[in-house]
């Protein structure tokens, strides 16, 4: 149980996928303009990450490893993710129309979100077992949501501030991200 708690806290606070591993930056900067869209994107990413963890583990250990095709992992994972997103999108559209209306547009954005492929590869690199992979996948999704939410909160407050012309737009957004990332450095002590 202790190791699960450790993986969970590590993924969310110490090695936050966005703020210290730099994955999913594109959507981090692009979607985080409102709290509501951040929540939607975060929920969609968490959902897809959990499914990705669930499927890539058996595919790697029960198909690729016995066939000695480990080098095919990037191709197979990215295709699994792309297919998964399509299936999830159609399923939600058919079964839960209200959920689709709030999450649908974000789902389409996930296919090549590097954080999703990243979490599948991290699970392998860390040699997690199945339960650990699942904990890590879900925690990473929550970490992504946390980063997005925090950042959206900051952006709403700084949106209308006066900044020097050259810094207007993206540069000032990046500075906010930098300060947010700096605050997460404080958590690195938790690792012990």
């Amino acid at each position: 149980m202790k190791e699960f708690a450790f993986i969970f806290i590590s993924a969310i606070l110490i090695n936050n996928i966005v703020l210290s591993k730099f994955m999913g930056i594109c959507s981090f900067l692009g979607v985080s303009q409102q709290i509501k869209s951040s929540l939607g994107m975060g929920a969609a990413v968490t959902f897809v990450m959990a499914l990705t963890g669930l499927i890539t583990y058996p595919v790697y250990y029960y198909i690729l490893v016995p066939m000695q095709m480990e080098y095919m992992r990037t191709i197979s994972f990215i295709l699994i993710i792309a297919a998964l997103v399509q299936i999830v999108e159609s399923l939600i559209k058919k079964l839960f129309p209200p959920l689709y209306r709030s999450l649908g547009i974000y789902l389409a954005l996930i296919t090549t979100n590097c954080a999703v492929l990243g979490v599948a590869l991290i699970n392998l690199n860390e040699e997690y077992n199945f339960a650990q992979s699942m904990v890590n996948s879900i925690a990473t999704g929550l970490a992504y949501t946390l980063a997005l939410l925090l950042f959206a909160g900051i952006r709403i407050r700084t949106e209308h501030s006066e900044v020097p012309a050259a810094f207007r737009g993206v540069p000032s957004t990046l500075i906010s991200a930098s300060i947010l990332a700096l605050s997460f450095v404080g958590f690195s002590g938790l690792a012990g």
């Binding site: 594109c26 295709l79 090549t112 590097c114 991290i122 810094f167 930098s178």
Partner: protein, 232 residues
């Protein structure tokens, strides 16, 4: 798309439409691996190779690929070359492989190769796609090296560490600003570089993160008009 001369196709990726610094695509590797020039150059070279090969292949196949399933086809082509690159780097530069780690396979999820495949390679001749791949790849390489230079010079007070030409910057080396090696410094350095470019070429600052916000990149309307981020 207006007809462009070959030289223009080659140079627009490096300056006018630099994928990393102007259209703000491929930010993840740009921020993650650039703690030294050596790492940035290594990843830039790998991405350049993938982009040139993927652009040429997709341009060759453009008449065969049905448009309904073109995005999965692009993904497969790009990821194949990423896997080839991964194996090559692992075999011939194991140190670099260890340093780049997960970001080497993640080239597959980079929006730049995908965006170029959709916007350029799937509608232009093989030779033009080759030039476009070289130009855009070099532009990205340049941005990575620029970031690497700023972060390495300020963060550890050296230049070209890890190669035979290592230079030590006198005072900074003893008093490095370690924050530039941390993730926070990555965001900060990129912000400074973009702001400096805004100031120097006096362009209107980009207001949004163009196509980058749509990770399925090429498929979105703004990419299809050929200008990632131009609508801002």
């Amino acid at each position: 798309m207006a007809k462009q001369s070959n030289i223009k196709i080659l140079t627009k990726g490096i300056f006018k439409e630099n994928p990393a610094l102007v259209t703000l695509l491929g930010m993840c590797p740009l921020l993650a691996v650039t703690t030294t020039i050596y790492n940035g150059f290594g990843l830039g070279l790998a991405t350049l190779f993938v982009m040139v090969m993927a652009n040429v292949t997709i341009s060759l196949l453009k008449k065969i690929i049905p448009s309904a399933v073109r995005l999965p086809c692009f993904i497969v082509v790009i990821t194949s070359f990423v896997t080839i690159t991964e194996l090559l780097v692992k075999a011939y530069a194991p140190e670099l492989y260890a340093k780049l780690g997960i970001f080497l396979p993640l080239i597959a999820a980079n929006c730049i190769p995908m965006g170029r495949a959709e916007v350029f390679a799937s509608r232009n001749s093989v030779f033009k796609s080759l030039l476009d791949g070289i130009g855009m790849g070099l532009g990205f390489l340049l941005a990575l090296v620029l970031m690497g230079t700023v972060r390495e010079a300020l963060g550890s007070g050296t230049l070209f560490a890890g190669t035979d030409f290592m230079i030590t910057i006198p005072w900074v080396h003893e008093n490095p600003m370690i924050v530039f090696l941390l993730p926070a410094g990555g965001f900060f350095a990129l912000s400074l570089i973009i702001a400096a470019l805004n100031k120097i070429i006096n362009r209107p600052p980009p207001l949004s993160v163009g196509c980058a916000s749509c990770s399925l990149n090429g498929a979105c309307a703004s990419c299809q008009t050929g200008g990632a981020g131009k609508e801002a």
